[in-house]
């Protein structure tokens, strides 16, 4: 097919991960080999490590990308995403397999590659542009655009060592964003800068896609995959475990990582009810900040306007303790109880929940009155137990909720312990 621009066939990459001491051949060994068997010296470095432990960072990976597709490559740490991108960018060589790329390739494994702190913003734009493969004329043309995109007009002739980290990152991304290859390979670079700038970067990626460029995009940011990509590839332990639409990929990824199936419930029409649920769904997903969250999506029908009624959601753990409660009182939306069918979404910060099983109850209810529609049915979900020392002993998380906390090591005073012992 002529419109296939990236063709990957049985790609594999073997790394040698022997013990640290064995990892490097000593210089003495090399010199010895050079005298004993000079031909050996010129053989690949990798061949000298046949005894060490090996790891297939990628194995038998095959896929095709058509012109104009935006492909998101997702997977856990160590799934082989970065290795794949490095091979496609020709930074490292595959151990076996073959890739054919048709078109001018631009790869962004990092922003600001080659930036030198002593050089000014202006000088770094030219330097970085050249490193990314832009011609000088091209940079001349886009110079003003780059500067205004980065929002650093005032500091363009200041050495970048005086820049704030935000300015640095903005400048770095601005140069990269103005690279105009036919095929763009991007790694995680969107995770830079403040959220306003991140939006701008995502916008730039969308532009690239709209202009018909082919984009291969490696990310942990599953949300970005959903909004940007037309196709997803899920890698697991160096192999493709699923290739499909972004939402298929995300569902599968969530299942794999959190064991959370999507849960949905529908309700028959009941003309006796003035207000009723039609369907309720729990969708596990990842927030823009990278947190594990649930979307509680519900569709309800209003037969008679009831301004005062509240939509309540209550989540209880297996001990029947309510760990989460919310109602839509805070939703200032005048239409929400008008006649007709409505859709509402509630975001539940499930990352704050302790591992375990949960039951979601929901209903329409007005304080001091019997509930309008409080279905008996409960949606359930399970927050996966992370592997910790506790779980190794069969102990579940002791607290009712899971509060993210940070430990900070201050210092060790070795002399004071001696004093207190003696």
């Amino acid at each position: 097919m002529s419109d296939i621009v990236v063709e990957v066939e049985n790609l594999g990459k073997l790394y040698h991960i022997g013990k640290v001491q064995e990892r490097y051949m000593t210089l003495r060994d090399t010199i010895a080999t050079a005298f004993m068997k000079p031909s050996k010296l010129f053989r690949s470095f990798q061949l000298t490590h046949q005894d060490g432990e090996t790891l297939w960072a990628l194995k038998d990976v095959s896929f095709n990308v058509r012109s104009g597709e935006v492909v998101g490559i997702v997977g856990r740490n160590g799934a082989g995403k970065s290795t794949l991108l490095k091979i496609l960018s020709r930074i490292t060589e595959p151990t076996n397999g073959r890739v054919v790329i048709r078109g001018r390739v631009g790869s962004l494994l990092e922003v600001g590659t080659g930036f030198h702190p002593e050089l000014t913003g202006r000088e770094n734009i030219y330097l970085n542009g050249a490193i990314l493969g832009m011609k000088r004329r091209e940079i001349d043309c886009k110079f003003d655009e780059i500067v205004s995109f980065a929002e650093i007009e005032k500091f363009i002739d200041t050495p970048i060592k005086h820049y704030s980290s935000g300015m640095y990152v903005r400048l770095a991304f601005a140069v990269a964003a103005h690279l105009e290859p036919e095929i763009l390979l991007v790694d995680e670079v969107l995770a830079v800068g403040d959220s306003a700038f991140q939006k701008k970067c995502l916008g730039r990626m969308e532009d690239a896609a709209r202009e018909g460029r082919t984009v291969l995009f490696v990310s942990h940011n599953i949300q970005a995959v959903r909004t940007l990509c037309s196709k997803g590839i899920l890698l697991d332990q160096g192999k493709i475990s699923l290739e499909g639409t972004p939402s298929q990929i995300i569902d599968y990824y969530m299942m794999q990582n959190f064991g959370l199936p999507k849960i949905r419930e529908t309700f028959p029409l009941d003309s006796a009810l003035r207000i009723q649920f039609l369907s309720v769904e729990l969708v596990p997903t990842i927030s823009e900040e990278g947190h594990e969250i649930y979307l509680f999506k519900c569709e309800y029908l209003v037969r008679k306007e009831l301004e005062s009624v509240l939509l309540c959601v209550d989540i209880r753990n297996t001990a029947d303790v309510s760990v989460f409660y919310s109602n839509d009182e805070s939703l200032n939306e005048s239409r929400k109880r008008k006649l007709g069918i409505h859709n509402i979404t509630l975001t539940i910060p499930s990352y704050l929940f302790a591992p375990g099983e949960y039951f979601v109850a929901f209903g329409f209810w007005e304080p001091g009155h019997p509930p309008e529609h409080f279905p008996q049915v409960r949606l359930t979900f399970r927050r996966q137990e992370p592997k910790t020392r506790l779980t190794a002993h069969g102990i579940s998380w002791p607290s009712v909720i899971y509060m993210p906390s940070t430990w900070h090591y201050v210092e060790c005073n070795a002399s004071s312990i001696k004093e207190s012992i003696t």
């Binding site: 490095k86 890739v99 330097l127």
Partner: protein, 279 residues
């Protein structure tokens, strides 16, 4: 727009086998990157120094003064009938070009590890740019030489026309040895500690402070030519201030450099695919 043109280029990525090609065409495509890397080196080298580019002059000048006092005045080394300061300075120029560039080339790949692991480009660009950066210093310290020559009333001869070839010879020598050092340095950081020692020792076996005439003619002189710098430094004296011509030294040196360059290029190309994984 650039990317609306028909897709013409096709890149095939697969494990490389057998002999590797130099891909000089690709090197030419990346000439702008080479230029910018050299420019960066030059631009950054004397940043945040008080004396700035004057360091390029001070280094050979001070070395020359020390050598003149100790070796010229006290030890009274023979200097082919040329005033010792000029005799010595004219050799220090190629020597410093060589030693400075070799040190930079040897450390170039490790020093640019961030580029190696993040961007694709012909890896030869890195050692080449490290060589280019030394040329500016060389040019500046040359001006001082002309001052010295004028002071001692020494005029150049027609042999000066050989000078560009001698400079080129030094650069090729640096590349030949530097490719080995740079590629080895990626795997064995021992090299980075070895380089200063290597350079120091090399100076004593090169005719910087003394004349090649100290080496007995015949087999010893030929063996001395195994040091590729011996002929070139002698050549510098001959081309600029009329010392003895480098004669047989050059032939041996050229052969040595030829072998080192070919093997160095081959070793470099063989190892370059592992640079990003190992560095």
């Amino acid at each position: 727009m650039e990317y609306s043109r028909p897709l013409t280029s096709e890149i095939v990525i697969e494990p490389s086998k057998g002999w590797v090609s130099l891909k000089l065409g690709e090197l030419w495509q990346y000439r702008e990157m080479l230029f910018f890397l050299i420019w960066r080196d030059v631009k950054v080298r004397y940043k945040q120094t008080v004396l700035g580019i004057a360091w390029a002059v001070f280094q050979p000048l001070l070395t020359m003064v020390i050598f003149s006092v100790i070796l010229g005045q006290l030890a009274k080394l023979p200097s082919e009938g040329i005033p010792y300061p000029v005799f010595c300075y004219v050799a220090l120029l190629p020597w410093q070009l060589f030693s400075g560039s070799l040190t930079r080339v040897g450390n170039s790949l490790v020093g640019n590890a961030n580029l190696l692991t993040k961007v694709y480009f012909p890896r030869l660009i890195i050692p080449l740019s490290a060589i280019g950066g030394g040329m500016v210093d060389f040019g500046i310290s040359f001006l001082v030489l002309f001052g010295l020559m004028a002071y001692y009333g020494i005029g150049p001869t027609w042999a000066i026309l050989w000078l560009p070839f001698l400079v080129l010879f030094i650069l090729i020598t640096v590349l030949a040895i530097g490719l080995w050092l740079a590629a080895l340095n990626v795997q064995y950081r021992d090299v980075q500690y070895m380089i200063p020692f290597l350079v120091q020792a090399w100076m004593f076996v090169s005719p910087v402070a003394y004349s090649t005439e100290l080496i007995p003619k015949g087999i010893w002189r030929v063996l001395y030519g195994l040091n590729p710098l011996a002929g070139v430094i002698q050549g510098f004296r001959w081309a600029l201030i009329g010392g003895y011509p480098p004669d047989e030294l050059m032939a041996v040196s050229a052969a040595v450099v030829g072998v080192l360059l070919l093997s160095g290029l081959f070793y470099f190309k063989r190892m370059e695919k592992t640079f990003a994984d190992v560095v």
